[in-house]
């Protein structure tokens, strides 16, 4: 417990350094701006701004604080376009539109925005507080993980990914495999053998992480925008004078708290981020409500639950990223890759070896949450103006930002062709209903997965039973099976119940 408080104290020392404080606030502000752009979610926002943040040459703790601020801000900003435009920025914001947009149409836009800001704040802060206690404990436990335990952890991560993300588990798994395959291109670090480089010197060092991120997220997003070609400005609803009251907050306080708890724990599960969390929180709230008829027509609970949950999940997803080195969502996978660019390997040792990064980041999230609440309540009108940027100017701007970002890092014009190609590839994947987050998770985890597998088998001299010898790994494999089987069983049981109900009615 003492370690937590002394860690937090040192973290606040880092985060309150004037320059870092400026970056937290700047990141939150920029994140809210980019998150408020119609159709651009946190993952695209972080992806587009990541290379620029990297190119600025800040020390690692400052850069990661800036990126986390952008991530947080974008989660906040996303609700603005969801509520006022009915256009969710990403899958995590879909649930926000269900009741948020009807509220705005009923003339309660101001109330919907301020209520969701409060819910986001509570969810986010709840997650950071839990994280500062859970994180170090989990890290000190995970320090004893052997390579074979890590293999089991990865299997669990990919199993929960396949089972919980996207509509088709096979496609999600295949997307993750594509990421793993992309990561296997380049020189093998253990033996120096070149793999899949076909004699192209640009590929020897492997495909750059930034190129993959910008291509799959930034450029694919750009192509999608052109495909939909929303010309002119979208029609936004006006922000009126209505505002959230203490009575409203008292009415939804348990909803927000439940949403936060659900969000945090789903966020912790590797691979599943805000989209699953907000959907589960919304569903749970609707089922438990005594009068669920108004859900979908502007019920405050239907807005507060997913908003609290997706911000809590954003915090929860940071926990496995920081303590185990396994990201809890697509966006944290990008943050993990960003840390690796700075030669910082997230994982159990980070709290001991690089406390200024681990604790500095956590402390900056406390500050960021408060700052976001403060700038979001009065300035929401300014952010809402982002919605009226004409699409014909916004679209080229995204391309220019992506090009600047990629070029500034390595100054290699080949990468500009690479991101275009990857953008086309990512667009096809999206059209065919593959989710893109698993690709980036696979890409980030590829090296780690392979290294640990090889190390485990080196220890056992080629005996595969080492993979299931420790208690940790057995438990993790059991969890992996559970996370795959449980949703199938639940779905089947629900179907059976429905069938019986239908039967009863017809009989």
């Amino acid at each position: 417990m003492d370690a937590v408080f002394s860690g937090l104290a040192s973290g606040f020392q880092v985060a309150l350094d004037p320059f870092n404080l400026f970056l937290v606030l700047g990141g939150c502000f920029a994140g809210t701006l980019i998150g408020a752009l119609p159709g651009i979610g946190p993952i695209n926002g972080v992806a587009i701004l990541l290379p620029i943040a990297y190119g600025l040459g800040f020390p690692p703790e400052s850069a990661i604080i800036l990126l986390a601020g952008i991530y947080y801000g974008a989660e906040y900003g996303g609700r603005i376009s969801s509520i006022l435009l009915n256009v969710p920025g990403d899958a995590g914001a879909v649930m926000t539109t269900l009741d948020g947009n009807p509220m705005a149409r009923n003339g309660e836009a101001g109330k919907a925005l301020s209520l969701s800001a409060v819910a986001s704040f509570v969810g986010g802060t709840f997650a950071v507080v839990l994280m500062s206690f859970f994180g170090p404990a989990l890290a000190s436990y995970a320090i004893h993980f052997s390579p074979s335990d890590y293999v089991a952890l990865m299997v669990f991560a990919f199993a929960s990914l396949a089972s919980l993300v996207g509509s088709n588990p096979v496609k999600t798994l295949l997307a993750a495999l594509m990421g793993l395959m992309l990561a296997s291109i380049g020189i093998d670090a253990n033996t120096g053998v070149a793999r899949y480089t076909f004699g192209i010197p640009d590929l020897l060092a492997g495909i750059d992480f930034l190129v993959v991120v910008i291509g799959l997220f930034g450029m694919a997003e750009l192509i999608t925008l052109v495909e939909k070609q929303a010309t002119g400005t979208l029609k936004t609803l006006k922000i009126d004078k209505s505002f959230v009251t203490l009575k409203d907050i008292a009415f939804v306080k348990w909803t927000i708290l439940r949403g936060s708890v659900i969000g945090f724990f789903i966020g912790i599960l590797p691979g599943t981020g805000a989209s699953v969390a907000s959907a589960v929180a919304y569903g749970a709230e609707k089922r438990s409500a005594s009068d669920s008829s108004k859900f979908g027509e502007g019920d405050m609970r239907g807005l507060a639950a997913p908003e609290a949950a997706n911000n809590a999940a954003a915090g929860g997803a940071m926990v496995p990223m920081l303590t185990l080195g396994i990201p809890g969502s697509g966006t944290t996978a990008i943050l993990l890759g960003a840390l690796m660019l700075f030669n910082v390997t997230p994982g159990p040792l980070m709290f001991e070896q690089r406390p200024e990064i681990a604790w500095g980041l956590i402390a900056s999230m406390y500050i960021g949450n408060i700052a976001l609440l403060i700038i979001n309540l009065p300035l929401v009108g300014l952010f809402a103006r982002m919605l009226t940027i004409p699409q014909q100017f916004l679209t080229p701007l995204i391309a220019v930002l992506a090009f600047i970002g990629v070029y500034s890092v390595v100054s290699n014009p080949h990468d500009l062709y690479m991101i275009t190609l990857l953008g086309v590839f990512g667009w096809f994947l999206r059209k065919l209903q593959f989710s893109l987050a698993p690709v980036i998770l696979g890409f980030v985890l590829g090296g780690l997965f392979e290294d640990n597998l090889r190390r485990a088998l080196s220890i056992s001299n080629g005996d595969y039973t080492i993979l299931v010898e420790s208690m940790n790994s057995v438990v993790l494999y059991a969890l992996a099976v559970l996370v795959v089987v449980a949703p199938l069983v639940i779905a089947r049981r629900r179907k059976k119940m429905r069938d019986e109900a239908d039967h009863g009615e017809t009989a």
Partner: protein, 146 residues
């Protein structure tokens, strides 16, 4: 059908990937039980059944993109390609100006506003990035700004 075509292409790539893993990749000598070829072999062997599954049970039949949209997307990719080609030789300011003009006009901007927008992005973008943020961008033919 769309799913099947894509799965077919993926299948060919994955077969190639797996064959390379089984034949080409070899360490000259190694002490570890798993060499550089083992991991790609595992990936290939897991990926192939997944692709076959999608081939057998596709769930997206058509992309639902009208012909005109295909034309627009092709134009976009050509523009991006040209932008990438001109980025270094022509320099950021001119290449960006040309790209922004082309794309914003295609998306229906009026000529005057497109001119103002493209000029602003090119010039302001260059100076904000190189002077203020110290990010490296090519000056290209406008060597006076270097």
């Amino acid at each position: 059908m769309a799913d099947r075509i894509f799965a077919g292409i993926l299948f060919l790539v994955a077969i190639g990937y797996t064959i390379v893993a089984f034949t080409v990749i070899k360490a000259p000598f190694q002490y570890d039980p798993l060499g550089p070829e083992s991991w790609p072999r595992i990936l290939g062997i897991v990926a192939l059944p997944c692709i076959l599954f999608i081939f057998a049970r596709p769930d997206v039949s058509r992309l639902g993109v009208p012909v005109r949209t295909w034309g627009r997307l092709a134009a976009l990719v050509v523009m991006l390609w040209a932008y990438a080609f001109l980025f270094q030789p022509l320099g950021f300011i001119l290449a960006t100006f040309a790209f922004c003009m082309a794309l914003s006009l295609m998306l229906g901007a009026r000529l005057v506003s497109a001119l103002v927008f493209s000029g602003a992005v090119g010039v302001l973008g260059y100076f904000v990035c190189t002077k203020l943020l110290e990010i490296n961008l090519p000056a290209g033919v406008l060597t006076i700004f270097r």
